[in-house]
Symmetry: C2
Subunit: 307 residues, 2 copies
């Protein structure tokens, strides 16, 4: 089903598979995002996964920079995530393109549970990783903050928190360029002993074993930044906090441009580069997700997180 | 240790016990808050609990409207909450004033764990309540939203979520004046089945039994408002979300005045009216907490939540 158009990708070119049907406002915003991303970075090519007539809206404008994998079906928000792997959906096809080397990374604004399930099955987890994590970037007073997990693994467990601290540290070295990122555990007070049982156990273990660990931080330290570069929490709390902070920014009229960050989360712990955008993503958000995916591929994210 | 000053309280007067030593910036901000609250409402009197020389700063300005309970010791942020009940602290004395009928309600910006512990022991829990809840009010697009629990009970449990839904409904009838408030459960997606095990179990039970239940909402629905008047979650997630939203508002430059709400949380499920302010509360926040306590007492909050 794959057809190639235009010049072959050179050695410097990064090819990103894009799920044309993922997101509440797909395919229109995905087409917008694809065009914005191609204009912003001359060294990327896109592997467009979705209905031919949608892909053609991008191809018609930028004929030399896309391949197409014609797939008609998406995963709906009310579908079980398993639909993404059992049926020939755009998410499954985008994952297959990465697994088979036809693309270097993939971007989807589809249901994140479906993307996580399809990626874990199609690309495999990194050695020793029990649960993958979605790592978001949040704007903050000074530098952006990495928050993880924001929804890949909603059940709370101390051992998963420890693993995600280590994945988050590797991610921050690549995406924020920090040698030893400051890692914190999210809790409901900053003194040791604050929080629930799982948090108290994880705090103790991180103090003993995690390089760069600075201790507990509170919800306000994520948007305000300051004590930590990476904030670790369970996928339930992280998802709630991310959406709450985004909603508060929206209600208050937004964050000024110098503090804007990609509105996209990287899936960590998977043997492939996968970026998930918010279901309500705009074209600009999709473009920032495609740019993030290209950056993570070029910076060898998978190699770093698996070491 | 209690000394009365000025005219006796009339039948219309509400007397609020105020912890002069609670909060990061106590006692200065508490003195400011006490004076602001007295100026704003001629029908309240304050029962000032703390060092005599601090109480005197309020007494000197408004001699006819205060009583004093001279107590020198506070609970520090690093102390165990049990210190609040084992030692003669300002929190314990303020709780005793309510228990013994010398005050109608109490307000503290001290460590919330200490206030909750002291109140549960000194005032008792309402019949059938296993875990008390702290209910915060958040500004939102339209009407304010009640979020609970924001930190009284950090361990997740489906049965506690159900009980807190019912306490939150009673609270919203009193503080927002709604006949049947719309109640929602916080999760990481709005379709049934989203979230962790405890959330899925609670969602099912609430659908069957909770009047006004509208289903699942996400983190962004708390600051944006819309689907629900009351949003129920565990004390860990609620605390993180509240502080995250407040931090985002601060980073984005704040919320416009018509949307401002009391920055104070009511302790529900306790046989007495107790309001907890943020540790970093300002004088204005303390004054809004005192006004909220007076309003809850006048609206018979305890009677409504225990029915």
């Amino acid at each position: 089903m794959t057809e190639s158009h235009g010049r072959p990708a050179g050695p410097e070119t990064t090819r990103i598979a894009v799920d044309l049907l993922g997101g509440d406002n797909a395919p229109a915003v995905v087409v917008d995002g694809a065009l914005l991303a191609l204009d912003a970075d001359p060294d990327i090519q896109l592997h467009l996964v979705g209905p031919w007539e949608v892909a053609d809206e991008v191809l018609a404008v930028r004929p030399g920079r896309c391949t197409v994998d014609a797939v008609p079906a998406a995963v709906g928000m009310a579908d079980a995530p398993s639909r993404a792997v059992r049926h020939p959906t755009t998410v499954r096809a985008a994952v297959a393109a990465v697994a088979e080397g036809r693309a270097h990374a993939l971007v989807s604004a589809g249901m994140s549970g479906a993307v996580v399930t399809a990626a874990a099955l199609g690309l495999g987890r990194l050695p020793g990783v029990r649960k993958p994590a979605l790592a978001a970037l949040l704007p903050a007073q000074a530098n952006p903050v990495v928050l993880l997990d924001v929804g890949a693994s909603p059940e709370l467990s101390a051992s998963v928190l420890l693993q995600h601290a280590s994945l988050g540290a590797a991610y921050a070295t690549r995406v924020l360029g920090l040698r030893v990122p400051r890692i914190a555990l999210l809790s409901i007070g900053t003194e040791p002993g604050k929080g629930d049982r799982a948090r108290r156990a994880a705090d103790e273990a991180l103090r003993a074993n995690q390089p760069g660990y600075v201790g507990l931080v509170e919800g306000g330290d994520v948007p305000m930044g300051g004590p930590a570069d990476v904030v670790v929490t369970d996928g339930f709390t992280g998802n709630v906090l991310l959406k709450g902070v985004e909603g508060a920014f929206a209600l208050a009229g937004g964050v000024a441009p110098p503090r804007q960050v990609p509105r996209a989360a990287a899936l960590l712990g998977i043997a492939g580069t996968v970026v998930v955008c918010h279901g309500a993503a705009t074209g600009t958000d999709l473009a920032s997700g495609i740019a993030l995916a290209a950056r993570l591929h070029r910076n060898n994210l998978v190699e770093v997180t698996s070491s």
